[in-house]
Amino acid sequence: MSTGNLSRLDPEEVARAVTDFINATIMARTRPVRPDDDLELAGLDSMALLKVLLFIEAHYGFWMPDEDLVTDNIRTARAFAAYICRRSA
């Protein structure tokens, strides 16, 4: 994804992209997560969280600062997406 049109990000599309990334690189093929699944309950650990943050950095052009890594922003793929869209608006 280009980082040029961040102000027009579609939350649904971003949630789908984050979910796809998690399913492709972190989850077992037989246990995919959905956008509203609790990621910690699904088995994501510290290292997996960092992988998601690196994905966001690579695809949306910014690093989520430590103080923003609160439950409301990282509990689900959709929560990540909402944060990314807010941050990019």
Partner: protein, 441 residues
């Protein structure tokens, strides 16, 4: 399943490192055992466990394998003959009396070193005990030669045995038996070679000087000891600046307690070097059982940097992020795979500090949640479960976290001579306080 040929499972990755590190202490006869203790709420029937283990060998020979190397320069591997030649690993049943006797039995299990060249790489003990408060209990103790499997593998083994027990010994997996071992890395040799070399270069830059540990200078190591304590208390979840659930935060806290030990002993303010294991299994399903499915990140920080745990945890998180961004954790896993092409004596050459037989400053790991699917085992409810690995004389101490239900378990393993029991108790109390936990009844 029947086969007449010898099956072979090459040792890979961290398994090879463990064998090579233990070989440094061959003359001292240091144990490379690790154990998993699972306490159940009533007496267990050893015959059921024996039957399940016997049945597992029909599908998976590795619990009955032997460690082999066909030529001095050949690959180390697990070798298992045809099914008819496989003997079920030993299962011991013992009535202990009071619960307090359990700990001595567990320490004896750790110290009775398994020689996987001559005996099965794992054994099982059923230890019955009783306490006024909890009534009769049984503890399943699975002890294995550490390079056979990692802690998650041990839990998977128990899950397979439980599954076979529930199915009364019949094949419970239908046409798709579980994955018992990891598939080899499918990437081309050239690409893996490039990654391996980049990891070698990276390892050489990790620390400018050999690390110091509580075991530094120890030439006549004593027995393996451990203390285990269970605590209750909520963790702060992933993310944020005070995430007590994250390994970086826990490592920072353990680092602070170690810095206190360093101060008391007058050890130099050299950088700690601590391996942080990374489970390479995909999340959401058990994954492989046998073989070590771990990559490693190497955390570095000075004792003098540990006063502010939150701040250090963030620094360690950034360090881990950089390693992940640069591909060093993946490269580390690949580099360790390449060790199989080297003689044992040369395997450790690339690890920092090896010239002086120093390895790491201390060990620290969070082994995660005991699988909720194992809340019942062989007809009994699981009350608690934890792992107690032996540590090598250098570093001489390891701190291990895990959770079982609402219990947070803390295990400190050490080598007599490297640590005193009072020092270990001080470390446990400091970690309990730092985590904000209270003692579980």
């Amino acid at each position: 399943m029947s086969t007449q040929r010898v099956r072979r499972l090459p040792l890979r990755g961290a398994d090879l490192v463990l064998v090579a590190m233990q070989a440094l202490w061959k003359r001292e006869g240091v144990s490379n055992n690790t154990l998993m203790a699972v306490q159940c709420d009533g007496p267990l029937d050893p015959a059921r466990i024996r039957r399940a283990l016997h049945c597992l060998l029909d599908y998976c020979p590795w619990p009955a394998a032997r460690l082999r190397r066909r030529l001095p320069w050949g690959q180390l591997h697990w070798a298992a003959g045809p099914r008819a030649a496989l003997a079920t690993p030993p299962i011991r049943h013992k009535r202990l009396g009071p619960l307090e006797a359990l700990h001595a039995e567990l320490e004896a299990e750790l110290n009775l070193a398994i020689d996987p060249r001559r005996e099965p790489p794992l054994r099982v003990a059923i230890l019955d005990s009783a306490s006024d408060a909890a009534g009769p209990q049984s503890t399943i103790v699975v002890t294995w030669f550490h390079p056979l499997m990692d802690p998650r593998g041990g839990q998977n083994l128990l899950a397979h045995l439980s599954h076979l027990d529930e199915a009364d010994g019949r094949a419970p997996w239908g046409d798709s038996p579980p994955v018992f071992v990891t598939e080899p890395d499918p990437r081309p040799l050239k690409e893996r070679g490039r990654l391996g070399r980049s990891s070698q270069r990276y390892m050489r830059t990790l620390v400018p000087e050999a690390p110091v540990s509580p075991g530094t200078g120890l030439t006549a190591p004593g027995r393996v000891r451990f203390e285990q304590a269970s605590f209750i208390g909520d963790d702060h979840g992933l993310g944020g600046v005070h995430s007590t659930r994250e390994i970086c935060w826990r490592l920072a806290l353990v680092g602070r307690t170690m810095a206190d030990l360093w101060r008391r002993r007058g050890l130099p303010d050299l950088r700690f070097l601590v391996p942080v294991s990374v489970d390479l299994r995909p999340k959401g399903e058990p994954g492989a059982t046998f073989g070590n499915v771990l990559g490693f990140h190497f955390a570095r920080f000075k004792p003098s940097e540990t006063a502010d745990v939150d701040r250090l945890a963030l620094a360690l998180r950034h360090q881990m992020t950089d390693a992940l961004r640069d591909g060093q954790i993946d490269a580390n896993a690949v580099a360790m795979e390449f060790l199989k092409y080297r003689p044992l004596s040369l395997m450790l050459r690339d690890l920092p500090g090896m010239a002086t037989r120093e390895t790491f400053s201390f060990n620290c790991a969070d082994l995660g949640d005991f699988p909720p699917a194992l809340e019942k085992l062989f007809g009994r409810r699981v009350v608690n479960a934890y792992h107690a690995p032996s540590v090598l004389p250098r570093p001489g101490i390891g701190v291990f976290f895990n959770r079982c239900g609402i219990k947070n378990n803390l295990v400190v393993s050490w080598i007599e001579g490297a640590m005193q029991i009072e020092e270990v108790k001080r470390i446990i109390e400091a970690i309990r306080e730092g985590m904000g936990w209270r003692t579980a009844r």
